[in-house]
């Protein structure tokens, strides 16, 4: 597997790895049977009436690219408004890593889905309150 430098950097020293205490939303995507599962935790705050991702962390079971896409996703959306964050798609994730081997593109899809699942969970929790 030929990984780029950026991918290996994120894999070796991932950013925002871990859990958040009292998260506002958690997204769990993937399946260990297929070799990767990603959990994304988010903390939301309101700034000038807009919802902003104040903090984000991840836990991932998976290969080099699953861990690298998790890490770079957190960089891409941390501090962004919810609206901006929802515009981040798998291509942005792969691009931020300087590209992924074609067979590993599904890892970037997992990262996009993980974030969207966390936001969905956050919105669901809002409704319940």
């Amino acid at each position: 597997m030929n990984y780029g430098k950026k991918v290996l950097e994120h894999f070796t020293k991932p950013h925002n790895m871990g859990e958040l205490k009292n998260p506002d939303g958690v997204g769990k995507v993937g399946n260990p049977r297929c070799g990767d599962e990603m959990w994304i935790y988010i903390k939301i705050t309101k700034k000038r009436g807009e919802e902003v991702i104040k903090d984000i962390k991840f836990k991932t079971f998976g290969c080099v690219s699953a861990i690298a896409t998790s890490s770079v996703l957190t960089d891409l959306v941390k501090g962004k408004t919810m609206e901006q964050a929802l515009l981040v798609d798998n291509k942005d994730v792969a691009k931020a890593l300087g590209g992924l081997p074609p067979i590993k593109m599904h890892c970037s899809v997992l990262a996009e889905e993980g974030l969207k699942a966390a936001i969905k969970d956050y919105k669901k929790r809002l409704k319940k309150v």
Partner: protein, 381 residues
């Protein structure tokens, strides 16, 4: 520090082997089929190699056919025997190397019938199950001597007894076992056996097929009739010289086994939630250890170890081009999520105790790190 623990994939060329080969890459470059002095010299050297290899496995020189390696030998054996038979049934184990399995699948498309024989949870073929699978029209059984991933050494003697009784030919891929355990063809009772050079400190691109005298086989390569018409193509003279030398060097199996055992003890003492894949004891190849590290995935661990200069291999689906987990690990009944965390460590004659301690330190550290990253922990199956 650098530490190579992937001798099951390939080995470095031994200095003695290289020394023996070098003249045949330079001034002694003759074609072994040429009639002039240069050619005759090459041919003589090839025959000396053939003799050394034959002697090493207890065969006659004329029963050794040189090929380009394990894949060709396995293709040649299985397809060559099938072509000579024209039709019928063959049996291969489910944990054979892909070149055996895919040869069998290809023959199925040509109208042959194939049984893929199951193995138990340590990877053993049962001679009794084999007996039940043999049909009236079965002409060939192919069971590897030792498995490349989990090191299981098959009970070939018992398997060959069944084959003899039933009048069926037995082929065995012995690429992993050659020089690690005895591969005497009469002790094992094989009719055809695949061996190759680059797993035993010889050069890549050369192997051989042992074909018992009297066994009918169709050539796989058509051409000028080299190797008594069994395998056409100009002989890879330097490769064959290297191969011949590589069976004569000291493979230090005792040393390798000692290091492997220290490693296994270390892993099981220092790291929790690990599973050894394959058997323990003498029925496992002396140079092989294969562990699943639960809650993490193998490709990630491989790259972490690689960053410390440690070379290992993984059967994780994530590291394959198909994203399918290893057929060997699923055949021994491992759930996919455990198969994904499998790493193979294969030791060699030049490894040192210091290297084993180094890999144990880094392994313990990186497994811990990756587990911190994983959403799973104890309790998850």
């Amino acid at each position: 520090m650098k530490a190579y623990f992937d001798h099951g994939a390939t080995t470095p060329i031994d200095p003695e082997v290289l020394k023996a080969m070098t003249p045949f890459l330079k001034q002694r470059f003759g074609n072994a089929a040429s009639l002039h002095k240069l050619g005759r010299e090459a041919s003589e050297a090839v025959e000396n190699s053939r003799e050394a290899i034959a002697k090493f496995i207890g065969a006659k020189p004329e029963e050794i056919v040189f090929t380009s390696g394990g894949t060709e030998s396995n293709n040649f054996a299985i397809k060559g025997i099938a072509f000579a038979k024209k039709k019928g049934h063959l049996i291969v184990s489910k944990i054979e190397h892909d070149c055996v399995l895919n040869s069998a699948r290809w023959l199925e498309k040509q109208g042959f019938e194939v049984t893929y024989l199951s193995v138990d949870d340590e990877g053993f073929v049962s001679p009794e199950e084999l007996r039940k699978a043999i049909q009236d029209d079965t002409f060939l059984v192919s069971v590897m001597h030792a498995n490349n991933e989990i090191g299981t050494i098959q009970p070939l003697k018992e398997i060959s007894k069944v084959c003899r009784e039933k009048g069926v030919l037995l082929h065995s891929d012995a690429c992993q076992s050659l020089t690690k355990v005895s591969v005497n063809i009469d002790d094992l009772g094989v009719d055809l056996m695949t061996i190759n050079s680059h797993k035993i400190y010889g050069p890549k691109g050369v192997g051989a097929l042992y074909i018992r005298k009297g066994v009918k086989i169709d050539p796989y390569f058509s051409g000028g009739g080299h190797e008594n018409g069994k395998r056409s193509g100009t002989l890879n003279v330097p490769g064959i010289i290297g191969f011949g030398k590589s069976v004569q060097i000291n493979h230090k199996v005792g040393h390798v086994k000692k290091l492997r055992n220290i490693f296994m003890k270390g892993v099981e003492k220092r790291i929790s939630d690990v599973k050894l894949n394959g058997p323990r004891g003498d029925k496992r190849l002396a140079n092989n250890a294969n562990y699943s590290f639960k809650y993490i995935e193998g490709e990630g661990l491989l790259f972490r170890l690689d960053s410390h200069g440690i070379a290992v291999s993984t059967a994780s689906a994530c590291a394959s081009n198909t994203l399918e987990p290893s057929h060997v690990l699923t055949s021994i009944g491992l759930p996919h999520e455990i198969a994904h965390g499998a790493i193979r460590f294969t030791f060699g004659k030049d490894n040192t105790l210091q290297e084993v301690e180094y890999v144990l330190d880094k392994l313990e550290k990186e497994v811990k790190e990756l587990r911190k990253m994983s959403p799973y922990k104890r309790g998850w199956k």
